[in-house]
Subunit: 423 residues, 2 copies
């Protein structure tokens, strides 16, 4: 069976907000055996919303709509649904009570505007929203299902998990099973990898497909398989992943869809080792990537973001003469940053970055995108110079420097483990 | 005239990659007077791509497609276009030369696979891509335009700016002019703000629309206007923004679509004052938000991310007995973090956070979402306790703590300026 997603909102259509809901929903649905055939964004306009709902209900078995359920005048989804299903709104007492309690707990009173949140189409099943004031709605017409959810990402995700997926599973039996596996490489270009993998790719059975997702130095290879027997499919996919990894060799850094920082985090956790960072051009992005992961306090102790040179000098004890003579973006400075952060924060490893993120600040010698990176460990210091170039702007330089520095750390952890084992 | 955007890629459809291209493209088009009627995501499947292109060319004047132009086997956009336009592929010499030079500059050789990047449909205008190997394509049929662009975000953005927008402007005269204005509030709920603004909202002329975009404590109010005379429209919109701000009063923190950190950055730059941060639960996200902005070194000196308690103690000189007796998430600790970061990094202001981002680590006393924040300035220390709750997870707690702490800084800068003026 196929599902279509329709995300409603002028803010999405005019590009003020990036539509992350579609990706989150598609992923949840696919994991549970439901395939999304298309996702569509429309504005807050009744005719367009109605046209998309109508078209979709003719082409697929279920349609999930998000957005337009708020209390304000631009929220028109309920009106469109009532028109389309030839029904009217009624006050839902349990929703009313819940909204009143929710507002009460925040010290707020129920207003006429809030009350509209408890108005629902006659004939709709109510999907209770524990995280906000707009409930989800489930309607059926001629064997097809229409679901309406609030657009607030975490409210939508809660309703998908707790209400929509279980109901879809009861209502439709997933037919084909889908399975995705991801293998990630770093350090090789897309066409070279494609040439390397070609003989194997051409031998793939028709129910397993390969896709390339290159992004900022990393290539995610995605294998998508389908079949009636989930166990058999899982075994087949595992065998293909092994063949792929044998061909791609050292370029592979993960056999799953994890960020580089997650890969490194698992390695540190397994070895009960600790990490600190000293960041100049990455400006806290390394720290943020690490501290986005729950449980990071087990291995991450902190960072010194030494954006200004006097902070490099005063807090990280970088030599004033090296800063003066070699410049902040130099091997000498980045190595001192790593070595001294490791001592100051008392960790097994320290990773440091110093570079020119742009768009300004480049010189003929050190153009925008020039980044020095260093890793300090019990073995000593390892440093590397990269030229990421200016294309893609400041965000891309910061991202690539973070990923590359974390890859250096990954290699250092492996090297240190094997040298320790040898001893 | 209307434009439709079609973003192609299984990775988008299955939720592996969030579709940021649609938002970037819509925004660029709207700024130049072109309205996007809908955005659609389809997978790498010829029939679906063809159906969407065909449907769109019947409904709108121009269709822009992204993705599926890479050198690998899952990239089929050019094949679909050739079928649809009854044409074939030819080798484009300038593209071939450019790709060869680009690869050469990276020390790589031209392969058969790379050569396919220079194959283009006969009859298509080539839009040179300075940032990558796949050129854009421009085709026309029965007065309608089809544009095909690579899916790599910065390559797409470069081609939109340098090729597509100028060509659209020559080809179609933008009819109606569109203008968006954004006013942002913090500290008031959506329905209360809606009640406050209702009399004014009901008096808006039909060509100006209001929309509410609530997200994590902040509400973005978007006014969208259209009309034939851009100057008159700008004046009308300005007058409406003033009325809105008069009603919303102190809740307004920006009259444009800027992040809170950008608002604060401008204030610091104007006053030539400096900032440092000391982060525990926000873990570098404050630093990252600030250092994402070009030119931040003018006012931002750095941060101490003291994730571990011994780093709070050793680097930020937080009292060991306060850490022991009051806990890391306490008024005492966060105030010392702010005060000592201001001294250590020698800045005019320092902002500190300490809280429980979750999902683990909460207690009955201090549940997940509990965050202490402090701002240190020449006037002394200001601190505040917030309960953001666990809903929305770790990322939301980190985001709300960052925004709220930056709002505290904003108010402190204003208070300090006015007290200085009075003296």
């Amino acid at each position: 069976m196929n599902i279509r997603i329709i995300n409603i909102g002028d803010e999405l259509l005019i590009g003020q907000v990036i539509n992350s809901n579609a990706a989150v929903m598609s992923e949840m649905l696919l994991k549970n055996g439901f395939f999304v055939d298309r996702t569509v964004v429309t504005g807050d306009e009744a005719a367009a919303i109605r046209q998309e709902i109508d078209g979709a209900l003719h082409e697929v078995d279920a349609v999930i709509v998000t957005g337009g359920l708020g209390p304000t005048k631009d929220d028109i989804t309920k009106k469109v649904i009532c028109d389309y299903f030839h029904t009217t709104l009624r006050l839902d007492e349990p929703t009313y009570d819940f909204v009143a309690r929710l507002l009460g707990s925040r010290g707020m009173a129920m207003t006429e505007t809030n009350k509209t949140q408890a108005m629902v189409p006659v004939g709709a099943d109510i999907l209770p929203n524990r995280l906000g004031t707009a409930p989800g709605l489930w309607l059926e017409k001629e064997g097809k299902v229409l679901v309406s959810l609030p657009g607030v990402p975490f409210e939508m995700a809660g309703l998908m998990r707790e209400e929509v997926i279980p109901r879809l599973q009861r209502r439709f039996k997933p037919g084909e099973h889908y399975l995705c596996r991801v293998v990630q490489t770093i350090g090789i270009g897309e066409s070279y990898l494609s040439d390397l993998l070609e003989p194997w790719e051409l031998s793939l059975p028709p129910h397993i497909r390969l896709a390339y997702l290159p992004d900022s130095g990393i290539i995610r290879l995605r294998l998508t398989g389908s079949g009636p027997d989930p166990d058999r499919l899982a075994r087949e996919m595992e065998a293909q992943v092994e063949q792929l990894c044998a061909l791609a060799g050292d370029y592979v850094f993960a056999k799953e869809d994890k960020k580089m920082t997650e890969v490194v985090a698992s390695m540190l956790q397994e070895r009960r080792q600790t990490l600190s960072t000293a960041e100049s051009c990455t400006g806290g992005f390394m720290a943020h990537q690490i501290t986005s992961m729950p449980g990071c306090s087990a291995y991450y102790k902190g960072s010194v973001i030494s954006y200004a040179n006097d902070v490099k000098q005063r807090v990280l004890q970088v030599s004033a003469s090296d800063l003066e003579n070699k410049g902040a973006v130099s091997q000498e400075v980045v190595e001192q940053m790593a070595r001294n952060a490791r001592e100051l924060l008392q960790t097994d490893y320290a990773v440091a970055t110093s570079g020119i993120a742009g768009p300004d600040g480049g010189t003929a010698d050190k153009p925008v995108g020039t980044v020095w990176m260093a890793v300090a460990s019990a073995r000593g210091i390892n440093s590397r110079l990269c030229h990421f170039g200016p294309a893609g702007g400041r965000a891309r330089v910061i991202y690539r420097a973070t990923t590359t520095a974390m890859d250096m750390l990954r290699r250092e952890i492996i090297a240190l483990s094997s040298s320790t084992k040898t001893e």
